[in-house]
Amino acid sequence: MLTAEEWSALRLSFQVGAWAVVGSLPAALALGYVLARWSASSRWFSQAAKWLVQVAIDLPLVLPPVVTGYLLLRLLAPKGPIGSYLQAWFGVRVLFTWPAAAIAAAVVSFPLMVRSIRLAFHAVDPRLEFAARSLGAGRLNAFLTISLPLARRGVAAGCILAFARSLGEFGATMMVLGSIEGQRTIPLAIYTLVYQPGGIERSWRLVVISIVLACGALAMSEWLERRQTLREEV
C-alpha cells in the first residue's frame, strides 16, 4: 500500500515525535506545575519574572520555525556551544541525524505541552496538596501521589498535542536534519516528492495520513482537556 520511502518517513516521524515528547516531558511537567502554582506577589519584579518566563516558553510558538532551526543549527554544530560539548564528552555529532530532528521537534512543541500541563494542574485544587502534606507526605510525594494522578488527562492531552506538532514540524527539522534520502520525516518527504515529475499525485497518501493524524490528535487532545477541566467534583 505504501512505498518503502513512505514507510520510512512514517517510521522516522513517529520515532522523532515519540522521543521529542518523552525527552521534554520532565521539564514540561516541572514548568507547567510551577507556572500553575506560582501566584506572583503584587511586587513588580515578581510579576515581571512570571511574564518573562511565560514569554520565553511560548517563543517557539511564534518564531518562524526556520529561525528556530537556524538557532539550533548554530548551537548543535560541532563548533557550537552544545555541539562541541557533545563531541568532546560523548563523541557524538547530532546534526543531520534523527536526534537533531527530535530536538527541533521538542523545542517547537514545548510551549504546547507546557500550556496543556499548566491548565491541567490549574484544575487540580491546590488545597488537596495541603491535605496530603498534613497527612505526612513531602512536597514531591504529594505531587506524585495526588497532583499528578489528578492532572493525568491534561498531561496526556499535552503529550498528544506535542506529538502531533512534532509530526508536522518542517522548517526547523529541515535545517537540522537536511534532506537526505531515506532519512526524511513525513513533511520533508512530501516536500521533496511534490517537485518531482508526477509528484503531486504521488504524495497524496502521505498528505492524507498527515491530515488524519492531525485531526485524530486534536480530537483526542480536546476531549481529554475537557474531561480534565471538569474538575473531578467531589
Binding site: D125, F130, A137, V234
Partner: protein
C-alpha cells in the same frame, strides 16, 4: 501543650497577631468569618509561614522565626480536617484513610485502622469513592483520615459547616467518641455557639486577627453578644 505566638500579614492585607496557650482536651476558636481562625490553623499545621513568631507543641518547636527553626508541614504530626473535607477524589474511602496511615512516623501515636473504622462507622463505605458519599459521610471519612495519621494534635476547621442540624449532632457524637477513645487534643474552629459549648473546655475568641477574649465557654458566652 500548644504555645502559639505569631504575626502574619496576608497578601490581601489581612493582619494576624495572635498569642495563646492551649492545654485542654478541646480548645475552640470562636469568631466571625474572616477573623483569622483558619489562618491560625494553617500556621500550626505549617501550611502558612508566620512573618514572626513561635509555635511549640509539647517538647517540639514547630516554628521559631528568631531561632530560624521551621519544621516542614509533613513532619509536624498535626492532623487537619478541612472545612471542605478535601478528600482525594481519585482514591477510595479506604485509600483516603490509609494515606496518612502509610506515612505515619515511627514514634507517632498508634491509631488502629479497624478501631477507627468501627468508631466512625465507616465499614460500609470503604470501597466507595468520595463523589458517591453524602456530606456527613465525607466529614466522617475526613476525620478518620486525619486520625489515622497518628497526630499529636487534631485541628478541625468548621467541620460542621453546611450540615443540617441532625447531621451536626451525629458528627458531634462521633467526635466525642473519638476524643474518648484516643484522647488526642483537639483545636476546634467554629462560629457555632452550640457546638463549642458542647465540646470545648477553653474558648478563644478572635476578632479581625486578634484575640478578643479567652476563657471557659460558660463565661465567654455569657458576655458575648450574638454574632452579627
Amino acid at each position: 501543650m500548644l504555645q502559639f505566638s505569631a504575626k502574619r500579614r496576608h497578601p490581601t492585607g489581612f493582619e494576624l497577631d495572635v498569642a495563646f496557650d492551649a492545654d485542654r482536651q478541646v480548645t475552640s476558636f470562636f469568631g466571625p468569618s474572616g477573623s483569622g481562625k483558619t489562618t491560625v490553623l494553617m500556621l500550626i499545621a505549617g501550611l502558612y509561614r508566620p512573618d514572626s513568631g513561635r509555635i511549640r507543641l509539647g517538647e517540639r518547636t514547630l516554628v521559631d522565626t528568631e531561632a530560624r527553626i521551621e519544621l516542614a508541614a509533613e513532619r509536624r504530626r498535626v492532623g487537619l480536617v478541612f472545612q471542605d473535607h478535601l478528600l482525594f477524589p481519585h482514591l477510595s474511602v479506604e485509600g483516603n484513610l490509609r494515606y496518612g496511615l502509610r506515612r505515619r512516623k515511627r514514634d507517632s501515636r498508634p491509631v488502629d485502622f479497624e478501631r477507627a473504622v468501627e468508631v466512625l462507622e465507616l465499614g460500609d463505605l470503604l470501597g466507595r469513592f468520595p463523589r458517591n458519599l453524602s456530606g456527613g459521610e465525607r466529614q466522617r471519612v475526613a476525620v478518620g483520615r486525619a486520625l489515622l495519621a497518628g497526630p499529636e494534635l487534631l485541628l478541625l476547621d468548621e467541620p460542621l459547616a453546611g450540615l443540617d442540624e441532625t447531621l451536626k449532632q451525629r458528627i458531634l457524637d462521633y467526635l466525642e467518641r473519638v476524643i474518648e477513645q484516643w484522647r488526642i487534643p483537639l483545636i476546634y474552629v467554629s462560629h457555632g455557639v452550640a457546638e463549642v459549648q458542647r465540646l470545648a473546655q477553653q474558648v478563644i475568641v478572635l476578632e479581625q486577627g486578634r484575640v478578643a477574649a479567652q476563657g471557659a465557654p460558660a463565661e465567654i458566652f455569657a458576655k458575648l453578644k450574638p454574632p452579627a
